[in-house]
Amino acid sequence: MSSLDPIQLANELHDGVIQEMSALLLQLETYQRRLEKDPVAARADLDRIKFQLRETLGHIRQIVTHLRDED
């Protein structure tokens, strides 16, 4: 991201953070359903969720840093 106008920012949020959050929601749904049936697999789900959360947090930080640099 070299320079972000409002449209680019919207696209960045739509294609990046919003999709990742949607996926996280689905992963949490899966985890919740799996917890009773298969606790071992559920633990793997949780690891995936933590990994995804870190990724998403990283992407949000990148955007924030970028917006601050613009000022």
């Binding site: 739509h14 294609d15 919003i18 999709q19 990742e20 949607s22 996926a23 996280l24 929601l25 689905l26 992963q27 749904e29 899966t30 359903r33 799996r34 049936k37 789900d45 995804q52």
Partner: protein, 220 residues
């Protein structure tokens, strides 16, 4: 469509964001009566895979590169008529609801629907039912209600008399019947019709009738 008596419901996922596609796939694979038979990254691939796999249902994203979900739905209707299409809409996609209905979609769900909602929607669509999530249904009804609204429709140029002639025409009346009903000469009816065709920019009687029906000037 093969319901559960022929084995699990076979699903194709068409979604361009890998992270969402995988999360959907993992979630659906947990269900014993559902199986994901394919994953497409855009509308074109969805069509190719649909022809190849003949799934019971396609989970269709709206915004995709190359070919979007609405266009893919339109094409799939002709190619895989038995496949149900469930549109998953994200933020900002609401404006395409009516287009997707016209393209042949059977159901609409928001991307942040719960797994229970998604599974229920899949089962209902495969049974031949339709489903629109309530918040989207309101939006869809608004779109239907306003679909004929144009800022300055050309029929506004019709005189009250021409409008009467057009309505009589749409009821299937012949020129002599219209003349009798409106107590005017047949020649005057013809003059009105020529003017109507010109103002509505249509070729003849049948196109004028179609225009009248499309714009809600007459009910059938």
């Amino acid at each position: 469509m093969s319901e559960t008596e022929n084995g699990p419901i076979r699903i194709l996922i068409a979604e361009d964001h890998a992270v969402v596609r995988q999360a959907l796939s993992v979630m659906l694979e947990m269900e014993s009566d559902v199986t994901v038979v394919g994953e497409a990254v855009d509308g074109e691939q969805a069509i190719t895979l649909c022809q190849e796999l003949n799934p019971d249902l396609v989970l269709m994203d709206v915004r995709m590169e190359r070919m979007d979900g609405v266009e893919a739905t339109r094409k799939l209707r002709g190619i895989c008529p038995d496949t149900a299409i469930l549109i998953l809409t994200g933020f900002g996609d609401e404006g395409i609801l009516l287009q997707a209905v016209e393209a042949g979609a059977h159901g609409f769900l928001l991307k942040d629907a719960s797994s229970e909602e998604l599974i229920e929607a899949i089962h209902r669509l495969v049974k031949g039912e339709s489903l629109v999530t309530p918040s989207l249904l309101r939006r869809l009804l608004d779109e239907i209600a306003h679909r004929h609204e144009e800022p300055h429709p050309v029929h506004n140029q019709l005189t009250p008399r021409e409008m009467e002639v057009l309505k009589a025409l749409a009821r299937g009346l012949r020129n002599e019947d219209i003349a009798r009903e409106l107590v005017i000469s047949e020649k005057t009816v013809k003059t009105h019709l020529t003017s109507i065709f010109s103002k509505l920019q249509v070729e003849g009687r049948s196109q004028a009738i179609i225009y009248a029906i499309r714009h809600g000037l007459v009910t059938i």
